[in-house]
């Protein structure tokens, strides 16, 4: 479901969609490794339309959210969110989130160890409140986009898949599941937009809720797909895996913010 946007926001969302283009997240989870889905060409296309500068002006939070939703829908690399807002990718043990390998110049990227303890840097939280605000809003938008993309796939599947002589979309159990998923999805989208308010507070509570909520949506989506969602082919699982990853990373930042 597309939420109606103001024309200029819709325009920006469309240009993000265009920049993402036919890009697809890798199908195969890299078992046993941090997944590397960075794509220089994609990053360059986004840079061309101004993605990355949006944090610098509070009035641009709207386009940032519109674009973040599109990135989530495409399950785009998370470092696109981090670099554009925090100014650097988040990294764990020197590995960029969802990026394989070490990044040169270790000072730049906030680094954590596996247990979430900071290493060699004072904080992963940016000192510039505008960056933090943008990160919060775009992260919410990304989660809303994940939920939206996943629900769209599940609805299409439920309408197309027939069992017991009719589309499974007609079954009360399937409808109830999709209704639950849709209401959380809408809550996520609305939360993302509410965080786009330049005068608003940092959406800490929304972020604390959103990761797990998005995960729940993707779980419903997996279930509606049945066996087909368990095959790597088709890629429904990307939403489900990504939602958890965003949740865990977000929790690290939030706990950092909460510590005295």
């Amino acid at each position: 479901m597309r939420f109606p946007l103001e024309p200029e926001l819709e325009l920006f969302a469309a240009s993000v969609r265009g920049a993402v283009g036919v890009w697809e997240a890798p199908l195969e989870p890299v078992f046993g490794e941090w997944q590397d889905d960075r794509d220089d060409a994609l990053a360059a296309r986004l840079a061309e339309i101004g993605w990355g500068e949006l944090w610098s002006d509070p009035d641009l939070l709207g386009p940032a959210v519109a674009g973040g939703v599109e990135l989530g829908r495409a399950v785009a690399p998370l470092c696109l969110v981090d670099e554009a807002t925090l100014g650097a990718p988040l990294a764990v043990d020197g590995r960029v989130r969802h990026g394989e390998g070490r990044v040169e110049g270790g000072e730049r990227e906030p680094t954590l160890d596996g247990t979430g303890t900071l290493r060699g840097v004072e904080s992963v939280v940016p000192s510039d409140p505008a960056r933090l605000q943008a990160w919060g809003a775009v992260t919410l938008a990304y989660l809303a986009g994940l939920a939206d993309g996943a629900v769209e796939k599940a609805v299409a599947h439920a309408l197309a898949r027939e069992q017991f002589g009719a589309p499974i979309a007609r079954l009360a159990a399937v409808q109830a599941r999709l209704a639950d998923a849709a209401l959380v999805r809408d809550g996520l989208v609305l939360s993302a937009w509410s965080a786009a308010d330049p005068d608003g507070a940092f959406p800490r509570d929304s972020l604390a809720w959103a990761g797990g909520a998005c995960r729940e949506v993707t779980m419903h989506v997996q279930q509606v797909h049945g066996g087909i969602g368990f095959a790597l082919e088709g890629g429904v699982h990307r939403y489900f895996r990504r939602a958890k990853s965003v949740q865990v990373w977000t929790d690290v930042l939030l706990s950092e913010l909460a510590s005295p």
Partner: protein, 377 residues
């Protein structure tokens, strides 16, 4: 638990520890997030050699004449040690049970002894692209020509078919009725006309598509009556749905997470409380599994109790996979031997998706509980 059961569990634990070097060499074992979907021909052979397959079968078939409940208690130990069990569960626990009950003696004599020796692996060809939850609508045709069935159709999600020696097939022998037109046939996987293709899954292993084109199967390979296959399939599922082995694996994950948090000084009250609640749920789920196994031993109607065992275990898989990643934090997202708790948190998180789908979806289990257990129609 009786002292014999306790002793067997201890023996099983020692045996499992002896398999550790074999397991560690197996790459799939590292990736596979659900031990019951994991597979290893070598582990199956070693289980058979050591007399662990077919525990509830009579001694003449290579069994130990124990109850299902006792076997279930031992399977939980296999799970705790994370043995890849797919072949075992298919060949002995589910398909083996149906063969023992429904097949003609000659077929029983032919099949059960090599299963219990760990030499013969079965896979289960029920589901089709058009027949998942609605299994009764399966269309794989079996036409009788003389004393041979000629079988043509397409099966999907066939676990372990890539390793299997024989396949257990739900086929349509009467096109005019639905459930009463189904029969069950078994045949070697290398019978001409069978083609198996495997594809990777989110669990870290493989599932298969099985294509059947003019496959000739003797009438003697029927399991149960012609057109009586629905009852055989349902009986098989009642056994499949007792999943104590999975619960053993979950208990290991909870212990490992607790240990890791203690080691890294993160086992606070909130974390300990969450682990404790999950252990409580796990305990209830174990009891549901043991009750279901006991019902099968007593030949009581088992569908509802098996569905409860299955559904509670499936939900727990997802709850524990999720909680393990939450509690470990970032390191919970990492996989592989070097990662925290051997990467099992992330692996269980992704693999647990299949638990509310395989063996009948969560919704199907609910229907069984509501209809068969509560009499709601």
């Amino acid at each position: 638990m009786t002292s014999t059961q306790q002793r067997l569990r201890e023996e099983a634990a020692v045996f499992c520890q002896s398999l550790r070097p074999v397991l560690e060499q197996d790459e799939e074992w590292r990736r596979q997030g659900m031990l019951s979907d994991g597979d290893s021909r070598e582990v199956y052979r070693l289980l058979g050699e050591a007399g662990w397959i077919g525990m509830s079968w009579p001694v003449e078939f290579g069994g130990r004449g124990l109850t299902r409940l006792t076997a279930t208690l031992v399977e939980e130990v296999f799970g705790y040690h994370w043995l890849p069990l797919s072949s075992y569960l298919l060949s002995y626990k589910t398909i083996g049970a149906a063969i023992e009950r429904y097949a003609e003696p000659a077929l029983v004599d032919l099949l059960l002894p090599p299963i219990s020796r760990g030499e013969l692996i079965f896979c289960q060809g029920f589901s089709e692209p058009g027949a998942g939850s609605d299994l009764g609508s399966l269309t794989t045709r079996a036409e009788l020509r003389g004393d041979t069935y000629v079988v043509t159709g397409h099966k999907i999600w066939t676990s372990s078919a890539q390793l299997s020696d024989w396949i257990y097939l739900g086929v349509r022998t009467d096109a005019d009725t639905k459930h009463r037109g189904i029969s069950v046939l078994v045949c070697p996987v290398d019978t001409p006309g069978i083609e198996v293709r495997s594809f990777p899954t989110l669990g870290g292993g493989y599932l298969c598509e099985t294509f059947l084109d003019g496959v000739e199967i003797p009438v003697a390979n029927l399991v149960g009556e012609v057109n009586g296959g629905w009852d055989v399939l349902m009986y098989t599922l009642d056994f499949e749905r007792v999943t104590a082995e999975k619960l053993g694996g979950f208990a290991w994950v909870l212990n490992a997470v607790e240990e890791r948090l203690r080691e890294t000084d993160r086992l606070d009250r909130v974390a300990a409380g969450r682990i404790s609640r999950l252990r409580g749920e796990l305990h209830a789920s174990r009891l549901l599994s043991f009750r279901a196994a006991d019902n099968l031993d007593r030949e009581l109607p088992g569908s509802a109790s098996s569905a409860m065992a299955k559904l509670s275990g499936a939900r727990l898989a997802q709850a524990i996979g999720d909680a393990a990643v939450d509690l470990l934090g970032l390191e919970g997202l990492a996989e592989g031997a070097e990662a925290a708790i051997e990467g099992r948190a992330a692996a269980l998180y992704r693999a647990s998706v299949g638990s509310t789908i395989a063996g009948g979806t969560a919704e199907v289990q609910q229907l069984v509980i509501a209809r068969r257990g509560l009499g709601l129609r």
